[in-house]
């Protein structure tokens, strides 16, 4: 452990040194306060990992922190998972460029939470143990359903991971002048250390600390923006309209997605996708009981809702401040230095100089590290718990499962770093949107129907689930972004950017049809078993957690 810590610090330092030598190429001097805060954060989180490593022994410790997280802590951690780099940097950047359109994303990202609370949270807690596949496969064929769920989880995790890696690489490149590859490698190495040694306990605490830092930092930024306008949003809006080339239209949905189908489809992906994100769903197993699970959603909804309000202020603040005479220094050839995602980072420099820039940068980096750790743990549990312990080797001991998990974490980390480097030029926000679309089309329908529909059978879930997954991926490939923008064809075969409306509907119909027409004895038995599952889902009687902690 100590050796690895030493190795990480050497890599980190040498990477900074390498960055130092290159800084002329990226036109930005080394930001000392940023590096100090960044190293303090790394040292602190590694300390937590060391503490967590001593407490993490069993598979239950590794995947769910032994179920000992409170509702409040879990609420912060869930909010932390949700307030990723694409949420913080992406949405504020989107508002800075297109105004109110970014606010639509913010609103759509929140409304999934009440729905999760009313229909999913406590049932997940009552039925599951480590992964959402525990619920989907509760009364259905373990092999089929866990394989499907693992595919769905990994697809979402990898896409989300690439998006965060690319974000991290770009951020560090801009801030510290470090090479993109070094930056991605460092993120990967730290994340592997957090997760392999500290498991869910370390991952959760890193997430909690980051959520607090992020909420504090962005609040401070929002207050400084409002202070400048005597706490009048109207005055801020007037300034923003005056400075933005699109003038008044930034204050209304104006240019947002021209066709109704895409608007509805995106709304659906963002709302239902939330209920299918494996790294968020697994957090419901870290609390002791259904009561705490419910509380955690209330806290999470409160924190995330508040976050969107302050991000909106920061986004419009960025329009007002950056498009001014003083803000001109942040533009290179008419474009924001480092891309539009850097809007809030530049704003922090304008508001509070190098020290505040350092703080916000360290927070942004912490955000990425915490989110990739959660994602990696979700990916590792899909492979080790769902595939290894339930399909390949059902007699595996606790030690074997934990060992496989740790190996998987390293593999997922390496895959993440490799793809992060390969996908350097891809659009982050779009990849996250795609991850949500797949989560909504593949994971959400089987999870939802397995909880509520007694008629669901293995055949229906397996065939229908794969149809949903394949439809979502295919429609994205033949849609405007991949087919036209990336593959260079003239016209898209599928005209909409967001396929969720179609792929979610097809998944539900497919699952319904292949369950309905399933007359096998196995199908009948599975329908019979719904009663017992439903009683447990409603009361928690017989649930795994109630005894363990």
């Amino acid at each position: 452990m100590l050796k690895i810590l030493a190795l990480i610090s050497i890599v980190a330092l040498s990477a900074f040194a390498a960055g130092d030598a290159n800084f002329e190429a990226v036109k930005r001097e080394l930001n000392v306060p940023a590096i100090i805060m960044f190293l303090v954060f790394i040292a602190g989180t590694l300390g937590i990992t060391y503490w967590a490593a001593k407490k993490t022994k069993s598979a239950s410790d590794f995947y769910t922190a032994g179920g000992g997280i409170t509702g409040f802590q879990n609420g912060l951690a869930i909010a932390g998972d949700y307030m990723s780099a694409s949420a913080f940097l992406g949405v504020s950047g989107l508002i800075c460029v297109r105004g109110y359109v970014g606010v639509i994303y913010a609103v759509s990202f929140l409304v999934g939470w009440p729905i999760i609370l009313f229909f999913m949270a406590e049932k997940l807690r009552n039925l599951g143990k480590f992964t959402f596949a525990d619920i989907a496969a509760y009364r259905l064929g373990q092999k089929e359903i866990r394989t499907l769920a693992a595919f769905g989880s990994l697809a979402v995790v990898i896409l989300y991971l690439i998006a965060q890696m690319v974000g991290a690489g770009k951020l560090i490149q801009v801030l510290f002048g470090m090479e993109y590859e070094y930056a991605v490698f460092m993120v990967g190495a730290l994340m592997i250390v957090y997760v392999t040694f500290g498991g869910m306990l370390a991952t959760t605490w890193v997430q909690i600390i980051k959520a607090c830092l992020l909420l504090t930092g962005v609040s401070f930024m929002a207050i400084m923006v409002l202070y400048h306008f005597d706490f009048s949003f109207e005055a801020l809006a007037v300034q923003a309209v005056e400075n933005h080339t699109s003038a008044e239209s930034i204050l209304a949905p104006g240019g947002f997605i021209s066709d109704p189908i895409s608007a509805i489809s995106l709304g659906m992906a963002l709302m239902l996708g939330t209920a299918g994100l494996p790294h968020v769903l697994m957090r419901f197993f870290t609390v002791g009981n259904a009561k705490e699970a419910r509380k955690s959603v209330v806290y999470a909804t409160g924190f995330v809702g508040y976050f969107w309000i302050i991000i909106t202020i920061v986004g419009f603040g960025a329009i007002a401040f950056l498009n001014s005479a003083d803000g001109a220094q942040y533009f290179v050839d008419g474009k924001l230095f480092g891309g539009n995602n850097m809007a809030s980072i530049h704003l922090s420099h304008m508001l509070g100089g190098n020290a505040f820039l350092g703080f916000i940068s360290a927070v942004a980096f912490a955000t990425i590290l915490a989110v990739v750790s959660g994602l990696t743990l979700a990916g590792a549990s899909a492979i080790s718990h769902d595939i290894y312990a339930n399909v390949i080797n059902p007699n595996a001991t606790d030690e074997q499962v934990v060992k496989i998990s740790k190996i998987t974490v390293i593999i997922v980390g390496i895959v993440g770093v490799t793809l992060g480097i390969a996908f350097e030029q891809q659009n982050i926000a779009y990849m996250v949107g795609l991850a949500f679309g797949i989560a909504a089309s593949a994971n959400f329908p089987i999870l939802f129907l397995s909880i509520y529909w007694r008629g669901l059978t293995t055949r229906g879930a397996f065939i229908g689930g794969f149809i949903g997954l394949i439809t979502a991926v295919t429609l994205v490939i033949i849609g405007p972004i991949v087919w036209v923008s990336i593959l260079g064809n003239d016209e898209a075969i599928f005209p909409y950017k967001h396929p969720a409306l179609f792929s979610v509907t097809i998944a539900f119909i497919g699952i319904w049809f292949f369950s309905k027409t399933d007359n096998s004895q196995r199908g009948k038995d599975e329908k019979e078993m719904f009663r017992a599952q439903n009683v447990r889902a409603n009361t928690g009687i017989g649930s795994a957690g109630a005894v363990d902690h």
């Binding site: 606010v103 929140l110 204050l251 949905p253 109704p260 259904a290 419910r294 309000i309 009361t539 009687i541």
Partner: protein
């Protein structure tokens, strides 16, 4: 779970009360959130000029208070749900557990 236990719980009036009350609350609040959100999305999709209406003589449009209201109301629905679920429903659940203690 044993067949006998499932039968006992299912026929317990408290269990039926719990399920029907909780389902009804979840559906009501869920419908509220969905209708609110999809009214917003449909307005954007089909009649977005409405949202460009300004407030008084200012430049700020009604789109902002509407977005804020959706965020705040979503949070309030979660508060309402958890207040009842962690009080009334949790008590009912504990009573049901007590009733079947001999079988667990």
């Amino acid at each position: 779970m044993k067949e006998e236990l499932v039968d006992r719980i299912e026929s317990n009036p408290k269990y039926q009360e719990l399920v029907s009350k909780r389902t009804s609350l979840g559906l009501k609040l869920g419908a509220f959130v969905l209708i609110m959100f999809y009214t917003f999305i449909m307005t954007i999709a089909f009649n977005k000029e409405v949202l460009a209406t300004t407030i008084g003589d200012g430049v700020t449009t009604i789109a902002f208070p509407i977005a804020l209201a959706i965020l705040v109301l979503s949070f309030i629905t979660t508060l309402i749900y958890v207040k009842r679920a962690n009080g009334e429903f949790e008590d009912l659940t504990n009573e049901i557990k007590d009733d079947v203690k001999d079988l667990m």
